[in-house]
Symmetry: C2
């Protein structure tokens, strides 16, 4: 039923999605929505939560496979810009929900969780390389770059740009870490921070 909702929003858009259409796709009656989700808004909220937890699962599973902090950063990048999130069917639905976020308290709460999770995942990993304040700073920039590439890719309707997007973010992060090394090397002699990760702060 939630799957049918995703399908309908992806195909018809947010405002053109009706309960009758969702019921048709799910091969149930219209009345069943009220039985399980109280009303249409309840179904939509459940759908957004479903999308959000799908993404969270993708991130967690990649984080588990990651060893070094650098790999954990990459896990966040790859999960958020992975094929599953870029797939038109999913991406347009996210976008439709984002458009409603300012006017729906339920959606806003889910969005805050999404946003904070990405930041804290990135900050956790970046703290291995730099001071917490710098880590937060870079995490915000990285998160924005990820979301911006996702947004532009989705709006443009480009399907296959996913690997290119990941390369851009990867290069950005590597550049920032490289600059950190250079700065450290010029100061009182010290190893590049990410050759000996997780040893300070």
């Amino acid at each position: 039923m939630i799957e049918a909702t995703i399908e309908a929003i992806a195909e018809l858009g947010f405002s053109a999605t009706t309960i009758a259409e969702i019921a048709r796709r799910a091969e149930v009656s219209t009345g069943l929505v009220a039985f399980y989700f109280r009303d249409k808004d309840g179904l939509l909220e459940a759908t957004l939560r479903h999308l959000s937890s799908d993404l969270a699962r993708a991130v967690v599973s990649r984080l588990r496979a990651a060893g070094s902090p650098r790999e954990r950063i990459q896990a966040v990048i790859d999960a958020n810009l992975g094929a599953s999130q870029f797939h038109r069917r999913i991406a347009t639905v996210w976008l439709a929900f984002w458009g409603q976020v300012p006017h729906n308290a339920h959606f806003r709460r889910v969005q805050r969780i999404y946003e904070r999770r990405m930041i804290s995942d990135l900050v956790d990993a970046l703290k291995a390389y730099m001071a917490p304040a710098d880590a937060r700073h870079l995490a915000h920039a990285t998160a924005a770059l990820i979301d911006g590439l996702w947004l532009r890719g989705t709006l443009a309707g480009e399907e296959p740009a996913t690997s290119r997007a990941r390369e851009i973010v990867t290069a950005f992060v590597d550049t920032q870490l490289l600059l950190l090394d250079l700065a450290l090397l010029r100061r009182p002699a010290q190893e590049p921070a990410h050759a000996i990760p997780r040893t300070h702060s």
Copy 2:
């Protein structure tokens, strides 16, 4: 009337905005919408075009005041992340339209113009510092960073983050240009490209 539409979408959201509500705010009758814009969709498209040309004007006016290519890049950054675009009243309306883009051919056309304009403005300026292919690459990353910061700021509902967002993008661009200088200095002796802008390729 277009102003009233912006106001209504900002306050109520896309799907809750009715012609009656717009007419009430504009202090006209509902029938007048049809007279000037054919139907509701025509009014919405005109509203999006209005927003788009407002932004374009802001960019052009800053570009005119800019001298060096570096200043032209900054003009794009400042115009897109300026207070006028971050103002909740405007930003939530943009967001609402973006959510409809995949399902409305008119909106999609306006979006393509917006997207390409930012890229070409950036590429034009960046070509002074690097090969066209590199310029396009960096332009995409910069544009994504701008849009990503805008998106996150708008979704989070933070009003005053505008100066911080601009700092992040500015720092990103400066870093990329700095790296270019470093690379050039290590190769066969050559001046940093942006000390002698616009002289090659």
